[in-house]
Amino acid sequence: MINKVITKGEFEKFISGIIDANETIGPKQVDTDRDGKPVYQFRQVKSFGEMDLDYTITYSSVKNFFLPFREELSRFDFSEKDWDQTVEYRVNPRAIIGVRPCDINALNILDKVLIGGAYPSPYYLARRRNTFLVGMDHEPLEDCFCESLGQDTVHRGFNLFCEDIGDKYYLTIMSSKAFRFLENVKVTDPTKEDDIKFHERRKRLRDMFKTKVEMTGLQSVMDIEFKSPVWKKWGDKCLNCGSCAMVCPTCYCYGIEENIDVGLKSSRKERVQYSCNLVDFAEVAGGHNFRPLKEDRLKYRYYHHYRGFAQNGDEPICVGCNRCGRACLAGINPKDVINELQLES
Amino acid sequence: MKVNMNIDVHHLTRVEGHGNIHVVVKDGELIDAKWAVVETPRFFEAMLRGRPHELAPTLTSRICGICSIGHTLASLRAVERAMGVDIPDDAKMLRLLAKHGETLQSHLLHVFFLAAPDFLGVDSVIPLIESHPDVVGLAVRLKGLANDMCDIIAGRTTHPVSLVVGGVNKVPTKKELETLKQRIQDRLADVATTVEVFKTLSLPDFVRETEFVSLKGENSYPWIGGDLVSTDGVVKPEDDYRAMTNEYKVDWTTSKFAKLSRESFAAGALARFNNNYKFLCDAAKQTAEVLGLAPVNHNPYMNNVAQIIECQHVMIESIEMIDKLLANGFKDIRSDYTPKAGKGVGAVEVPRGILYHEYEIDDHGKIAKANCIIPTTQNNANIHYDLAELVKQQVKLGKSDKEVELLCEMLVRAYDPCISCSVH
């Protein structure tokens, strides 16, 4: 890890250079909401100006550039009495600019799940390794609670991280590639003053958090409160629409679909993003559903998120971005559900 | 030799909806020639009563699967005129673009998939896939473009989703528009090939003088709203559409008939061409010349040719509009309004002729009364009288009943009737 400082003007030139040479994805205003406030999404950008690096939060997370909603895992080409399988997981290199700490932490969690374990996913790995990630800090929103989960700062899983210290960015360079990219760019070593500004900025951001979620002992609380009436209360409201999982940066559960092409000469096996909230997630042949009730399914998502599953070392996988809470029409959000559970116990 | 004929085409194929042709010739004399629509009526006007005005376009688009964008636009115009809603210019242009997409897609469907098999002597387009792969390929490409055009602008080709009261809901991206423009430009070559193909075909030579009714162009070839005009010199404002159509009921068909200065009149591509030739772009005028069409033409089979000319015209006009839209960068696409009571008419040139919607809206913004007049309804009488004249002429020429039957079918198809529409 090496720290440098770059002026904002110089930074723009640097990023423009990246955009020129690579497919680049950045935060972009795509719409306005009912109150006239901008709605942001990560989209491909062709120039620095198209991005809005001061964005509040993107509606969906950056996850889908690593785990696309629909992704071909392999294809079969049929010949007369036989078939051939092709598995392709190479992707073109690209850059993603302006990713917030919580979102990078979410990628780090996905790394554990999808690259760790006995069966690493080459599809995810290829995308992850070929993405040049430029992170950036920001002022938390009213309902962000990443701080409660310790996910408001990030220490790894990116190439370059920028912290705003006025007219300059305080850079954390995390990879040799980032270092090499910066070779012809005017960057300086941080001065004493820069360091002070850096610490002030961090402190200021930390003090801004308004939403607190009580995480103490949550794992055992979740186990004990498996039959709590809290689940029924929220389950009755839940639409089981999967919106939360689709926008969440860490929800990765999926399904496999196999379809024959219209010409009947080939077929595709695809991974499709799913959600444990959806009605048939745990349904088996013959129609038996292991989670028949809305509350079962809702509970399951919370269980996965806050109790954690073996694959990621039983840690919570939520990063506290509250995208799910914002997307949920029924007003179900982690803060209320968890704080209520904590009260129960 | 005295000719006897008994032609009974029950459910004419390759048209939208259910219609029958019935011809009786006895001893060389025409006894009976009928065009009867037997589609099941659906009572849209009745269903509209009590519906919130914002759902009227969604509901009426289901009158017809082919010209659903046309119905949506006529309905929107009626609602907007009833409540005095002005829509932004960019929205107008986007709506017209969607309209052009539909015109293109409908005309192509008719020319290639429904009418062409007749000219090439086959039952349907399916055998053409093998016998005329290049023609089918071209048709499929052009139709793909038309569909995508509707999808991009209106959200969906059949039953659009982003055309709403006050304007449009969604703007295409710059990139989408740029690609679309490029694709239209590329496909113009296919239109040229189509013209080449049509040059070699000979359309039946049949003339029955009639009156042609369409919207009246002011500065450009007319599509949405404005005065109404006929080749017999009648001009009326949009709101007087009833005086232009004079609907009446006949007892052998579920669809109504219409008339103006004569026993019948025609609407559609040929009518628009006859009334508004001067507003066509130069390239389209040239095509008209190449294909031997000049105003005022009274051969109903030439409707197919007029359709090809219109395809070319709308493609070129679309390119111009996309340029304008790109330059404007569309800021304003939807106006706010407060629902209020009122009455309004919307007249729109859909592929088969003028479509009228008229609504009365109550204080709660609900439809109190509705009336829709569909182009095919306006054309029914003309088809009916054409059939009689056609049979008379062909019997004189000594044609066999098989030949006459085919010519009759082709005649009806030439109007591209949209029958389920006509009994909405």
Binding site: Q85, Y119, S176 | -
Partner: protein, 302 residues
């Protein structure tokens, strides 16, 4: 532009320390690449179940496919889907593997139409297995309901092939009707050649049925259990093993000597898709074989 940033090349950045080598042969099934195999025999066991014998085409791959009783494989029917199936042949057999398939849905229905010589894809083996070595010197009680006999066939082979390592071996097997009994043609061999005691029962007999009728738990009166010296494997519908395990627990068999094989929906077999989660446990990598104590600890397991 003032600055030229080099175009990135593929896979050069050591951003992630761990980089598995997917080109190694042994890692093949860690991606979605399948072993190609051929159907070399089909036995119609019942109206709904068929036994497929599959031979992996490539020799090296065949040798690599090394499984233990209780493990499962993902069988790919190109174009239609992939299904988890317990391997039902002997773990000792390096020539071919056998899978017993019930016609249950989209993929399995198509699979039932397959003929000799059909090429399919195989991934695996996956999951945990029964601790056969640990059972040496003890009695084994294998209890199956319906299709549950399929996963038990591999341990039965194991017990037969190493018969002198074990004391008494009992198979308790129950189905709804006699026509649903699987592998009937092997019963004689099991009893006579391998000295395995087979006890069967059906819920509803027919005119030809001479055996017992009733629920599987009734078969317990036929065996005397030495709780300190017995291992149990149970496979069948959840309701069944709930009763069976409860009963045996009462008999004093330690929970960590009773094993069950769980069935859940599975899409990947690799602990990723989460379809097979029970509580916070993956059926595919932490299971499908669990001891009874673990099952009791899994929320919503039964």
């Amino acid at each position: 532009m003032d600055y030229k940033v080099p175009k990135q090349d593929i896979n050069t950045d050591p951003l992630l320390s761990k980089s598995p080598d997917f080109n190694r042969k042994s890692a093949v099934m860690k991606t979605d690449k399948v072993y190609k195999c051929e159907i070399i025999n089909i036995v119609e066991l019942t109206e709904f179940e068929k036994l497929f014998r599959l031979k992996i085409a490539d020799r090296t791959e065949r040798e690599l496919f090394d499984f233990r009783p209780g493990q499962f494989a993902m069988l790919e029917v190109p174009g239609f889907g992939e299904v988890p199936l317990s391997i039902t042949s002997s773990a000792n057999n390096k020539e071919y593997i056998e899978l017993c398939v019930r016609k249950a849905g989209r993929t399995t229905e198509v699979l039932h139409q397959a003929r000799l010589g059909t090429k399919l894809g195989l991934r695996g083996p996956f999951g945990t297995s029964f601790p056969m070595e640990e059972m040496a010197g003890c009695n084994i009680l294998l209890i199956a309901g319906g299709l549950g006999l399929a996963p038990l066939r591999a341990p039965i082979y194991w017990a037969s092939e190493n018969r002198n390592q074990f004391k008494e071996v009992h198979v308790l097997y129950g189905t709804k009707e006699p026509a649903q009994m699987l592998f009937t043609y092997q019963y004689g061999e099991w009893e006579k050649v391998n000295n395995i005691k087979l006890h069967t029962i059906v819920e509803k007999g027919d005119s030809d049925w001479k055996g017992r009728t009733g629920l599987i738990t009734e078969l317990f009166d036929e065996v005397t259990i030495d709780p300190q010296n017995t291992y149990v494997i149970v496979c069948g519908p959840p309701v069944m093993f709930k009763f069976v395990c409860h009963h045996l627990n009462g008999e004093g068999i330690p929970m960590n000597r009773m094993f069950v094989s769980l069935e859940r929906r599975m899409h990947c077999g690799m602990g990723k898709c989460c379809r097979c989660m029970v509580g916070s446990t993956f059926t595919c990598v932490d299971g499908p074989v669990f001891d009874y104590w673990s099952v009791l600890n899994l929320k919503e397991a039964i």
